[in-house]
Symmetry: C2
Subunit: 219 residues, 2 copies
């Protein structure tokens, strides 16, 4: 567990928690670490939503599929980031999403009820954890909000530009890499992949951007 301390320190769930307390706390919470190979399912749709996941290495895609295979990519969590906490905190019966390892990943799983329902030795840590969860959930809300703002646009071009402008702003530069390949970007924007490729080419021809695979430059 010690080898993960550096990454756990960056996890917002453990903000303001002293490092020497962290290890003991993990024991108290029953945290366990599981390794997943590329494309393996970390949490499966329909299963009880009891776990909070923390990416220790690799990355996790939160996705949803409808009855006829239309994939919707909701978010991607990288090292130090959490997933599943909204469903766990709301004590949802069945998970409406699947979480997939994008690459070989180490994932920490914590049974959320251990955080929500304070243990017998009413340690002050619980209060901090709940505060941290509240903060994280607020931020997640805002991320969802941004996704809605982007996908609410009516055309592929508008969605794409809204997304790229946001990425540029986040990167603080007109040159940046996105974390998606074409299919994933299409799934995130909720559009057709081939139409997305066509639109990117069009923007390139119009001199609005330059791009090569995951790298983009806005001109």
């Amino acid at each position: 567990m010690e080898k993960y301390l550096n990454i756990l320190r960056t996890c917002p769930l453990f903000a303001q928690i002293r490092e020497d307390h962290l290890l003991r706390m993990l024991g108290c919470l029953g945290a366990k670490v599981v390794q997943f190979d590329k494309k393996y399912t970390i949490l499966a749709e329909g299963k009880p939503a009891k776990y909070i996941g923390i990416v220790l290495s690799g990355s996790a895609q939160i996705m949803q599929m409808d009855y006829y295979g239309n994939r919707s990519l909701l978010a991607v969590s990288g090292p130090g980031e959490m997933f599943g906490e909204a469903f766990a905190c709301a004590e949802t019966k069945a998970l409406p999403v699947s979480v997939i390892a994008e690459e070989p990943s180490d994932i920490m799983l914590i049974d959320c009820s251990h955080i929500l329902h304070t243990c017998s030795n009413n340690c002050g840590f619980h209060q901090q954890l709940i505060y941290n969860l509240m903060k994280s959930l607020a931020v997640k809300n805002i991320l969802f909000h941004q996704k809605i703002e982007i996908t609410a646009k009516r055309s592929t071009r508008e969605k794409l530009m809204a997304y790229l402008l946001l990425q540029a702003k986040k990167a603080g530069s007109d040159r940046f890499d996105i974390p998606f390949d074409r299919q994933e970007l299409a799934d995130y924007l909720e559009v057709d992949r081939s139409g997305l490729s066509a639109e990117i080419s069009k923007l390139r021809r119009e001199g609005i951007l330059r791009s090569r695979k995951k790298h983009f430059e806005l001109l």
Copy 2:
């Protein structure tokens, strides 16, 4: 303030708070009540996001507009429900949405920093409020999630049916009323109003539903 107690009791922010403590707490939090006429702006896009709003009577629409007037309706809060808490809790600089009174409404506004940063007399209430906020944010996350699940569908018909099926499930009956008029439903589903009307007519002709204004019956 007393006359609002009945509705405040139903607000998830005050879950598990004893009624006799509630009034004092509201004073401590600097809660104020403001009345808004129909279509008036309760919170304006771009302003600092410091307030949590609670609908005491009437209802509030959370909406967003892009540069060319495409409206997107994110959510509607009715009596006892909160709005703006995600932005306030995340301490967002500028509000990315506007909140509009759908009808004449009484709204309670609470400066969120009074909840987040515990006051000198470190009352146990703060802990409960933060726990309640955490729970509410988790639920809001799930609501956003449902909206994404609906609007991720590719056609007007699929979006509409996904929405109606969810409403039917929520109502526990195939006959139910929706809280939107046609334009609002179109704004929520992120589709064109006239196309939505046409689709509803088509579903009616196909014998899949019956509807009159805001009332729907799935057959």
